[in-house]
Assembly symmetry: C4
Homo-oligomer: 239 residues x 4
């Protein structure tokens, strides 16, 4: 069984740590004096809003209701910052959010008692590459790097059934501050896991922000902004 | 052989059941007093209509004509409701619709005698993860939870050829009200099944509504609607 | 080795045959008296043209240059007809076009001597599901159902190397009218075949027209055209 | 172990070589007297710019920080040239750029000492089809075909761990001009490699330019430009 203890130091969870690391690691941003914060409420924005897409909250979770608990999954997209150069970089990476909530009777579930676990891109990679006999476990400390470090411990475990017919997905949350200890176990069939695998594979480039690398119509490339294009296309040959 | 008897209680087929369950299971919607029904025939709509895409009916089935029957598959997308908060949630989930109709002569088929079977996301997951020796079977009762429950029974079976060279896909419909009993069998080659697997894998995130989780241009995220973005990005760390 | 002899009768190659079959097989189109041919040069079209995408010819073939011949592949999208109901149906299905042309010297190739082979969706399905030891062969008669039937015979063969390190892709074209007999063989590495498999898997839903089944923003669905949506969503439950 | 020595002659790296080859190999372009360079700063462009997408530089690398070095990957899209016919062809193919930079202390990395390696479509195909025990190696000479040929040698190696638990990805750069010799080794877990495989599979059609083959709404196809559509759809049957 694979055990992955995720160090948050390089993750996007702690914005301060991540930002400073990013600056450190990617020196070419040092010249940029920060993020453009000026709001230009131009027709561009109106156009975007007019398309009805911008920052619209979508609720389309994939939910699995079982005897003792329910589990749902939905993607949370990254946020981007505008750079002074006019480009954009991922500011906060996306995740696939898993939500567990307990059954409190026949086909009744208590949403108020839910607990969440946010899968990073790499954890999603682990999940979608699981073989039918494989298992994996992830550990999160939401308070890591704060004074509450170690007070809340979350662990998500995905364990294959012995006969390869599916998985148990369990979340355990030990909260030493609130003195609570929650545990949810949801058996997931091969078919349900195939939906998760397919949907997570679809979502992975989106939570990474790679869907933003999209070919634009050539007239854009060749005519309106040749310089930007040149920069975009700088290759190993230019070094 | 896998047998999957689908309970409709948690499915989207019975809107009333599904809605009440949804409300029960996702308490955070309790404060929303329903779906915005007001029609604002604004320029937004015109823009959308101008793009020519909105609610256009598309006919692009993948059809397989064999000796005794034909089979075609095409996706049916989910519907969304607008929430008072401005977001949208899936109201009726999408399916992949399988249609069978009998041969009535050489290369003649009778469309009027067709029968349909609507694959849910999880049933699609089952189909696309079938190994070359695997089989599965799904049961539907279209009248479930109504007074006609049990009167119509549909069963779809996908059975691998012994030599792994393809599958038999069969639909049986027993209708006790109309006193009919239809059965269709369509042999599907490995190549045809590969098309179905690939197309269904492509369609799955769409019938789930996950294609609506689409990164918008950063200016939308950072400038025009910071609040919405913040909500969108709330993570396990915020709890 | 798999041998697939493709009967064109149900394919899209012969528009007349296909149309009549389609009409026969899908009775619900009988009431439609044909395709709307009226051209409405409205702002909708201008908008579409303004996006720069409409019917733009793109040349982005994946090309493999080897000692004796070169091979390139690129997708050809389906065409759609507008129905009187306002919907659209696939009129001519898309293909992935393979083009072979011979080497006539070191790194010189003669494009004028090219021969093409148009892979249907099902043939693409066969190709992308080939194991590393598998082979397949397709036969086309471009003049099928015409008076020249049998005069030109094309056969495409994909044969795994014995050691699983790639494939030989060969096209043979025997033309009894022009008294020509062309044969091209292109060895393709595992890496090159992986590119073809991945790109063909990406392209398959597009040549089938399934990329047109795209969720629109909910306001479109709920507000501007409730009737169309209802029709779209009719399920097996409505029968 | 697979060894792939990439000849650049047919690659997009040397624009001159590639262009002449392209012209040679695809004779039907001979009549085109070059690329339309005229800039029409029309409302079309403004519209495109208004969407905020055109030639916007996006930074969303997938980065892996390990003890001795860090590795990041991000796609670089192809550029297109406008043809006199109104179509577009790929001018410079896209790549997936790998960047390595060394650790210079605990969690400190020196971006100024980075080295890059640009994976072609076929090299990406090799990487995404690697089995859990496979390895591959690519060699690049950035100065190939120039007077500096052979002076700089880059080699990228991906080597499976013996136990199948991941890979070592190493870049070695020997620069005889600057008298430098850099070597980076980054151990990559199965989960991280799964992210790369999934993201590269997503990106591959984009770096090839195949995402530009996109079905337009049928009114475009049937009404505004029938000629272009006819050309697009010319099949093997038309020859």
């Amino acid at each position: 069984m694979l055990k992955l203890s995720r160090l948050l130091l390089h993750s996007s969870r702690d914005p301060l740590s991540q930002k400073s690391l990013f600056r450190e690691a990617t020196g070419d941003f040092k010249l940029l004096r920060g993020i453009t914060t000026q709001t230009v409420m131009s027709s561009a924005m109106q156009s975007s809003a007019r398309d009805g897409n911008s920052a619209v909250k979508i609720f389309a979770p994939y939910s699995i209701y079982k005897g003792k608990a329910a589990l749902s999954a939905d993607p949370r997209l990254p946020t981007f910052s505008k750079l002074e150069s006019g480009g954009y970089r991922v500011e906060r990476r996306g995740v696939i959010m898993l939500t567990f909530w307990p059954a409190i009777g026949e086909r009744k579930y208590d949403w108020d008692k839910r607990q969440v676990f946010a899968l990073s891109a790499t954890e999603v990679g682990s999940l979608i590459s699981l073989g039918s006999k494989d298992s994996c476990e992830f550990f999160h400390d939401p308070s890591m790097l704060s004074s509450n470090a170690g007070q809340v411990r979350k662990s998500l475990s995905i364990k294959a059934h012995v006969d390869g017919s599916g998985y148990f997905i369990s979340l355990s949350v030990v909260n030493n501050i609130l003195k609570t200890n929650d545990r949810f176990v949801v058996p997931v069939t091969t078919a349900e896991f195939a939906v998760m695998r397919t949907a997570f594979t679809f979502a992975l480039p989106h939570i990474m922000g790679w869907d933003q690398y999209t070919n634009q119509l050539p007239h854009g490339a060749n005519q309106s902004s040749p310089k930007a294009v040149h920069e975009l296309q700088s290759s190993e040959w230019d070094r």
